[in-house]
Symmetry: C2
Subunit: 129 residues, 2 copies
DNA sequence: TTTGTTGCTTGCAAAATGCAAGTGACGGTA
DNA sequence: TACCGTCACTTGCATTTTGCAAGCAACAAA
């Protein structure tokens, strides 16, 4: 399906620089965004799913981050019910390609941080583009 | 050299969970910390070096982030002059092992973000433990 | 004595975070 | 018909963080 203008990702109005690392951080650089992406890799799709994660994300933060991830084209929002409208979220291909970032963080964290436990494995996520 | 208690890294008083990804983000999850780490990979060591980066990090943020990176054992602060005391910063082994995280972000950013340019290559950083 | 350098610190306004409660639109039950 | 439960959010507000701009300290150089 041809992407419409509406489907094109939107980014912060201004990246700090043209450096890819800095630009990635302009989108993903806070404490919660990649936790939400992690949960999508764990096949969590609905609010109730995200809220079961041990970090106890506040609902206003979850809403805000999902909205931004959708705007960045990393996440796809689909309705599974029309009345009342109820949404579920999926990684897009671009979102799924964040796997190496999460894997690198996971590996570093396991090696260097006290008290972490070996996490459950990511199964291939369901992708919707 | 045997690490003293003073050299042991200190972490946030409380991680949100035992998940390594979440815990890494408790330390590194903001817009500036990994930019500072990136600059260390680019062999920038002193304030004047960091301040030449295109993102124009505010000096209070730079000071704050270097302090936290040192506390986490990712960065080593050395004095290159005693009077007045003047510091330079180096990656430790644990800091150098963040390379895969940066590389994964870089690759994703180059592929998916508009307007990024191919960055200068990381040379092997000087490590001080 | 004055100026320049470097690594920070400080004051303050704006923005973000996060707690807790609330909202809306349904379906289910009494 | 009235009430309750569910779920995906929104809202109000206090606290924390961010970031601008100026300032400080301890030297060396002119």
């Amino acid at each position: 399906m041809k992407k419409t203008q509406a489907d094109a990702p939107t980014f912060p109005s201004e990246f700090r620089s043209s450096c890819p690392v800095a630009s990635v951080l302009d989108i993903l650089g806070d404490k919660w965004t990649l936790v939400v992406v992690r949960d999508l890799f764990l096949n969590k799709h609905r609010y109730g799913d995200f809220l079961t994660s041990p970090e106890a994300i506040p609902t206003n933060i979850l809403a805000d981050r999902l909205k931004k991830l959708e705007a960045a084209g990393i996440v796809k929002r689909d309705l599974y019910q029309d009345n009342p409208p109820r949404a579920e979220y999926f990684l897009t291909t671009r979102g799924a390609d964040l796997a190496p970032v999460l894997r690198a963080m996971l590996k570093w964290g396991v090696q260097y941080l006290p008290g972490v436990s070996i996490p459950q494995k990511f199964t291939p996520p369901e992708i919707r583009d």
